[in-house]
Structure formats: C-alpha cells, structure tokens
Subunit: 345 residues, 3 copies
C-alpha cells in the first residue's frame, strides 16, 4: 500500500509543508527512520530528527516547528501523537481484513454452534456443545473443549487451547499458544505419593480482555478463575486456580499469581513478579518487576523486593546494601577506637 503526503494529511486533517505528492512506502519509528517512510514527532526530545531523518514525510506537532524549510515533507497539526494513532488504526483496519466462514479442514462437532459470520480456520478443533459468537475469529490449531463459550468479535490466535466449560466474553484477544483452563496444581500427599485433587471449576474471561502469548491460566478447583473486564495480560504469565482479577489491571510478562489470590481494579504489576496464594490486592497498587508479594496490599501501595515492601524504602535501603562492605568497615573502625579508648582508660 502506497500513499501520498496529501492523502495522509487528508485523513488526519493536517497542514502540508513541502511537496504534497511525496510518496510513502512504509512507516518507521523516528529513531530509525528509513528512506521513503512516514514517522512522527510529538516531543521536544525528538525534534532534532527534523533535520537529520531519512524519512520522506513527518507528522509533527505545530509547536515544534520553526518558520523554515525542512527536507522531509511535514504534516503539521496540534497533536502529532494522537494523529499518528488515528492513522495507525486506519492502517491496521486496511491491512487486516477479518476472515469469515468455516475453512475446509477444520473440525466442528455437530453439536457445536458457530455464528454465520465467525471464522473457524483449518486445523481448529471445536468440541461438542462449544459455541463461537458473531464476528469472532478462531485461527488454525486452536482447541475449544466441550461446552466452551466464546463471545463476539474475539480474536483467538493460532495454537490457543481453551479447555472444557471455560467462558470468554466479547471483544477479547488471546494470543498464540496461551492455555486457558488446564487443571490447577493441587495434590494431597499420602504415604504412597501425591494424590490428584480433581479440578472441576472453569475460567471466566470477561469482555475486552487481552492475553499475551504462552500464558497459562488454570481452571478453578471448584468455582471459577476470573479475568475481569478490560484487564490486559502480557506474555508467559502464570495464573493459578481460583485467582480473581478485577477490571483494567495491567500485568507485565512472566509474572506469576498463586492460587486463590484476588485483586481489585487498575493495578499495575511489573514483569517477573510473584504473588503468593490466598492474598488480596486492592486497587491502584503498583508492584515493581521481580518483586515477591506475600501479604494483602491496600489501595495505592507501591512495593518492591522479595519479599516486597514500600518501593521507596526498598530503594533507599538498597543503596546501603550496595555499600555494605564500607558500612562494615566503619563498624570495624568504631570497634578499634572503642577498644583503644578502653585500653587507654
């Protein structure tokens, strides 16, 4: 797809400075702009690229422009970032046409229900009594177990496995090879070994959830593991049985949450963090990456460390930890002086 500067300016209602017929052949981040490409500048710190970029066309926030000529064609408007996002959404919708229909080579059980305008790819497996809502795309190598319900306008990427009785709401995106509804990890030791505790609950994923690739979200032992509306999960997450996440939480990659832990809304959890089981987090908490949380957290707390405590205190104490050898040396010196005084006395 090729566009001219004037076509782009038209989409986003911008003012052209330079050649309106300049052709755009791609899009680059401004730090690595390529010849013939479009990029944008919305912040002072990137303004230097106005002079040095190889890009053909730049969308620029008005206040960053001087009254002079620039080598690239400029599209000027009040908020370059917002305009660029509009453009990217437009570009995406042009590039990714939705698929429809049941592709030859898929397996759809005779008791399953697939909406007329849904897509089920070759090599997707839809088990008995499963249902797929309107506008939803089921890509190759997806497995939907018995009685699984997928809502409307979802994208279930290649290789996702959703096991028996799990439920996914509307407008959800689940990325490749994520597993929803595997058995929770529950065993009772006896003298002969570890006896499996049946895992009979399910996973409920509410509307507008996005889940990254290679995540593991286990079914409840009894009852549901719940991912609340609007929550966004990154890649390689572990969500154990009976965890309940509220709305609009953001959890970065490789974090793990142990069994039966619950949280409210709008929490932000960094990557590789670990949450112990059976704890509760309120709302608007922040957990620094690699932290280990093993107690309830109140609204707005910000923590770091393993085990975690106040992030600002952690950082302050860590400065001293980095300096512990010198601190011990000071104690050595004090002890020498004291013992010298004692001898003197």
């Amino acid at each position: 797809m090729e566009f001219t500067a004037s076509q782009i300016a038209g989409f986003i209602n911008g003012r052209i400075i330079g050649d309106e017929n300049t052709i755009i052949t791609g899009v680059s981040p401004i730090e690595s702009g390529e010849e013939g490409h479009l990029s944008f500048i919305a912040q002072d710190k990137f303004a230097g690229y106005l002079e040095t970029t190889a890009c053909a066309v730049l969308i620029v926030s008005e206040h960053l422009l001087e009254d002079k000529d620039y080598k690239p064609t400029i599209i000027a408007l009040p908020d370059a970032y917002a305009a660029f996002q509009v453009l990217m959404n437009l570009y995406q919708s042009m590039r990714e046409t939705k698929k429809m229909g049941i592709e030859s080579g898929s397996f759809v059980h005779e008791t399953a229900t697939v909406a007329a305008d849904a897509y089920v790819a070759a090599f997707a497996y839809v088990s008995e009594k499963a249902s797929v809502g309107s506008g939803t795309e089921i890509f190759p190598h997806v497995f939907l177990g018995k009685n699984v319900k997928i809502g409307e306008n979802c994208r279930i990427a290649s290789g996702v496995k959703i096991h028996d009785y799990c439920v996914v709401g509307d407008h959800c995106i689940i990325h490749s090879n994520t597993v929803i509804g595997s058995d929770g990890f529950g065993f009772a030791p006896d003298k002969d070994g570890l006896k499996k505790i049946p895992q009979l609950g399910n996973v409920v994923i509410e509307n507008n959830v996005e889940i990254g690739s290679n995540c593991s979200i286990d079914r409840g032992t009894i009852g549901s593991t719940v991912i609340g509306e609007g929550t966004k999960l990154d890649n390689l997450l572990q969500i154990a049985h009976n965890v309940k996440l509220g709305k609009n939480n953001v959890i970065a990659a490789q974090t793990g949450i142990a069994g039966s832990t619950t949280m409210g809304d709008w929490n932000m959890i960094g990557g590789q963090a670990g949450l112990a089981g059976h704890i509760h987090l309120g709302n608007y908490v922040k957990i620094q990456g690699q932290s280990g949380v093993n107690y309830n957290m109140k609204d707005g707390e910000v923590v770091y460390g393993s085990p975690a405590f106040s992030a600002s205190e952690y950082r302050r104490n860590y400065v001293h930890f980095r300096n512990l050898s010198a601190i011990v040396k000071r104690i050595d010196d004090l002890e020498k002086k004291i013992s010298g005084q004692e001898i003197n006395e």
Copy 2:
C-alpha cells in the same frame, strides 16, 4: 447433571438434616457459594458460613454442627473434606468420559502402534515407529516424534509436543502446549560464532507424573533427562538437558533448573526459583519461591534468597535489610559520639 441431597448423601454415607429432596445444580467454594449449589465445611474458620451461605446443600463435619435448624440442607459425617473429595472424583469420572479410537483427520504413520482402546484425535500427528499404550488419550494438535513411546492410561493434552525417542510411562498427565525433548541449550563458541553441540539424548518420564502447561523439558545431550515417578510439575517450568528428578517432587510454576542438576525425592520447590547447573539436591528440601540455588543441598534443608541460604536466617537478616537506613543512622551517631569524645580528650 442434577442431583438431590439424598442421592449425594447416599454416595458418601452421610446423615441428612433438612429437606432430602433439595436439588443441587452446581458446586461452589464455600467463600463464594451460589444459590442451588453444593459446598462443604470441614474447618472451624469456615463454620460461620453455616448461617450465611446461599448454597442449597452443605456437607459438614459433625463436630462443627450444633443441635439446631439450618437454612441449607446439611449432610453430616465425620470428615467433610474427605467426603467432598470422594464426591468430586465421582463427579469428574461422570463428566469426563474417556475417548477411544483414531479420529478421522489424524495422522498416524503406518509404522506407528496405537492400542485398540487408545484415542488419537483429529490433527494429532504420530510419527514413524511411535507407540501409544492402552487407555491413553492423545488430544488434537499433539505431535509425537519418531520412536516416541507413550505408556498406558495417559492424558496428553492438546498441543503437547514430544520429540523423537522420548519415553512417557503409565498414568501420566501432560497439559497443553508443553514441549518434551527439544534440543538442550549447548553451544561451543569459536571465532566465527557459536557452534551447535548435537543433542542426541532423550527425555524419560516415569509413571504417575503430571506436568503442567507450557513447560519446556529438554532432551539430554547424551543420555536422558529424567522426571522420576510420581513427580508433579506446575506450569511454565524450564527443565534443561540431563536434569534428573527423583520421585514425588513438587515444583511450582515458572521455576527453572539448569543442565545436569539432579535431585532425590519428596523435594518441594516454590515458584520462580532457579537452580544452577551441575548441583545435587537430596530429599525433603524446601526452596522458597524466587530463590536462586547454586550449591548442593542436604536432606531437609530449607532455603531462601538469591543466592539462597537458610530460610530462617534469610528472613531474620531481611528484617535488618528493611531497616538499613536506620542502622546506618545509628553508625553515624556512634561516629559522632566517638569523634566528640576524641575531641574532648
């Protein structure tokens, strides 16, 4: 499936208090009991739910009951937890009927052997000379490489990949998208780059092992990576080449074990822990989540930290770490006093 209180009481030999015809439409954890559902109370701390639950029927340990009327129908017996487990196992066996036969749309090489009562799903791929034992279920999108042997009564969930020459025992469960027998991570650097060291061993999984979803268990460089009998692995584990785990170990999610490390039996390892390569752990050790172990551990040791040492010492020292700013302040004060004394002298 609907049951009455009297049917349930019959299965587990309980005494009914209340209406024996109460109908049960589902099962809930007691903390979030739903109308019409069954739950159980086996511990003092949950006894309060006897008065407040929305559940229709509760299985309750006798000693928690008073001589009075309750709103839900009660099924009383000595050990409510054990009775509930019996019921859940029964429920599971009713809900999950085993599949049998080779489903149309699967690929089974002409030299492969599949037991008459095994199940091979559509889109499963069984390579040359692979074998699948009696009563074993191979779900969609499973890949079995050349000469792979799967024992009897196993469940190999959708998306599991088991590579050439690997062996799985009897009564094993491997959850979705776990990879068994990928190449170990071995390279020899030379001036041109990193040269691959051939990975020619395999993985041997003994009887009664359960492995979570999205795990990576690499083949031995030469010889085998071994997961010992009865060991249970959670999700997203990394098990490197030539690791050997003994019997009945329990390892929580996202833990990684580096190459050639070995361990005995009945060890418990928390989530997100890391074990260095070429070390040995005895039996009955406990490793706290997020710990990093880089040395041999004796029977019964309990450790925490990165690098890990005695968990009780770690916790004691960590209390001081949390307080390091105040500790340094005390040293500041001591230094001032000492230097004051010196000036005074």
Copy 3:
C-alpha cells in the same frame, strides 16, 4: 544402529587398545555409563572412570592413559572431546534424515511459495504470500501468517507460530511452540479503560539464529524487533516489541527483555534475568541469572542483583547481608559501651 569399536576408530582416526570387534549399542555420559555403550574421557577429573565404567568402549585423550590393560576397549587419540563431537555430528546426520515435499493434510495457500526441496508437514498452515526457502523443514502444527518469509535450511519445529510479515533468515532453528510476532504489549489508559495501541511492525530473525521452545517474541509497534545473526536464545524467553539484539548473544531460559531495549554482540545473560525497557547494552557484558538490569551497560560489565550492579561487589555485600544479624549485634554492643562510657564520664 550398531557399530564396532574398529568402525568408530576409523571414523575419528583413533588407535584401538583391546578388542576391536566390541559392539556398541548406544552412547552414555561417562558419569552414568551403561553396558554396551560408548563414552569418552577428555579430562583428568573423569579418569577414574577408566577403571569403573560399565561402558564397552571409551574414547580417551592419550595423555590420560597409562601403559596397562583396561576392561573396556579404548580408542586413544590426542583430543577425545573433539573426536567425540565429530562422532556425534556424524551420528546426528545419520539419524535425522531431512524431510522433503508437501505432506498431504497440510494447508498451503495458493499464493504462497514453497521451495521444491522444502518440507511442509501435515497440519502446517502456510498463509497467503508466505514463502519457504530451499531445504527448510516446516513441521506439523506450524502457523505461518501472511507474507511471512522463511529462508533456506531452517528447521521450524512443531507448533511454532510466526505471524504476518515476520522474516526468518537462513540456517535458523526455532523450537516447538515458540511464538514470533504476536502483538507487543501497548495500551493507552483513558477513563473508560485501556485502549490498544496498534502493533504494526514485525520481527526480523537474521541468519544462524536458534530459538528455544515456548518463547514469546513480539512484533515491533512500528519498525522491527530484531534477533541478530548467530544469537542463541534458550526456552521460555520474553522479547518485547522493538527489542534489538546484535550478533552471537547467548540468553539463558526464562529471561525477559522489555520494550525497545537494544544490545550489541557477544553478550551472555543468565536465566530468569530481567532487562528494563529502553536501555542499551554494549558488547561482552555478563548478567548473572535472576538479575534485574535497569540502566545502560558498557562493554565487558559483569553484574548481579535486582537492581543489578557489579557482580563482585554484589557478592561481597551479600556476604555481609547473610551476616546482618551479627552486624547489628555489633552495633548494639558499641552503643552499650559508648553509653557506658558516657555514664562513666
């Protein structure tokens, strides 16, 4: 495949001591040598196995041998390790014959291009305009999105998903269930929730790269996520959008690299490490496992800790951390003495 000692000696030009007709039925690591097997001894510390091994044939470095009889047949030569590697490469090439042709039961879009000598397995899905180079093997359950380009002589293992517009060079190995080109994790919060930022870039994997199983490598937001030539990634790695890795980097399992971070060449990163976003690492840095790096690193730096700093300083300070209770006791004592002196004065 069975060989005699003399056949093996012929391949690697070794001198036989003992029975040249001894038959070899397998290969073992020397620490767990099995009857009838071949192994090797190249280091002093393993020389004791010359007397005790159950192996039938040993390849041994000349300088480790005494002028006496050994129970196993010995194949003597200057460098037993190098000779053994030659043998293992040979063994691998005999055991793993390359597959060719488009297997029945695969899906190849009519606009896709597959080289005549490439392999596309049953249940592999090759989307529109994707291309597969000469000598490349695409195993079962692989998904190649629109316009994906795979170079020559690659091995794309069962279950790998490579999304639209991503590019893989020549001689690459990607292990099972790894996901290349899922959406990056980018959301803009507004009052109604978290709005998805379109992820329109791709992933570029250069030549001679090997990637372990269950890795997640996200596409750039705009522009590319890049894995540089010769770089080797272990299992379960998280590589976020717009990360750029240079050449010949080695990254151990379960490490995560956040968005837009870049690095040069020949860096070594331990397992379970975390790199913050938007930082730059030079060349030849070493990062200890479980470390958290949140700042730029210069060539040759070696770090440990969360947050990470000089590894040698970390270890030195950690010794004091392990001893903090005793250190605080020393401060207690000092305070008592000082306050005693003050009272005395």
